[in-house]
Subunit: 142 residues, 2 copies
Amino acid sequence: MKIYFAGSIRGGRQDAALYEQIIQYLKSFGEVLTEHVGDPALTSAGDDGPNDQFIHDRDLKWLQSSDVIVAEVTAVSMGVGYEIGRAVEMGKPVLCLFREGPKHNLSAMIAGSKDVVLIHYSDIEELKKPLQGNLFSFKASK
Amino acid sequence: MKIYFAGSIRGGRQDAALYEQIIQYLKSFGEVLTEHVGDPALTSAGDDGPNDQFIHDRDLKWLQSSDVIVAEVTAVSMGVGYEIGRAVEMGKPVLCLFREGPKHNLSAMIAGSKDVVLIHYSDIEELKKPLQGNLFSFKASK
């Protein structure tokens, strides 16, 4: 199973350590194509490629080749929204992970979309069971 | 010409007055389906519908029926990213408007996409000419 993990880069790196934990857990289910998203050395400058077109085209190829998209949507990010939109329109299964919080305000375009599965959670331990359940059901439906 | 204007709602309303100016200008070229995005009474609570599914489904129908998408991408917004991603995947023309600034950091997924036209500008007056030029060329290519 090829997994595309999406998380905020230029939108802000406040959740980078959590992304890294999620990616490590996802690796027990398959190959995570975008492991760099959890790299603590990657800053909000977002210089994970020689230029923006290279980054976009590389990430899009990964998105197209993936079996499932897992997106952490708590940190507001234009790129994560774009990736979810393209994946939904491609007909790929999309799992969105959201942490409730006083300053967290999820877009109606994600919260109201029937084409994504939305998981509410508070920490990595609470996330594992629903994440595993959904990944298994995607795998079974292939 | 049906125009879908996309701007940040729950991501933050700091640019709402500018959205309103852009929408007024766009109305000289056609029908703007999402005029509420520039409404100063609409806050970042984003309560422009009875619930999130209603908002998503209404906006998606507008997106599908539009001839062109004009997205202001300076304020970081998950919903705007999602709308651009879906529109690109639908093969619709997408115009993205970005104001340079010390705290503005455009996603590589927008800045690096060959499937969107990116206009850099500083204020509404500077925006009018390139906006008009691109709208006319989209209209001519239909």
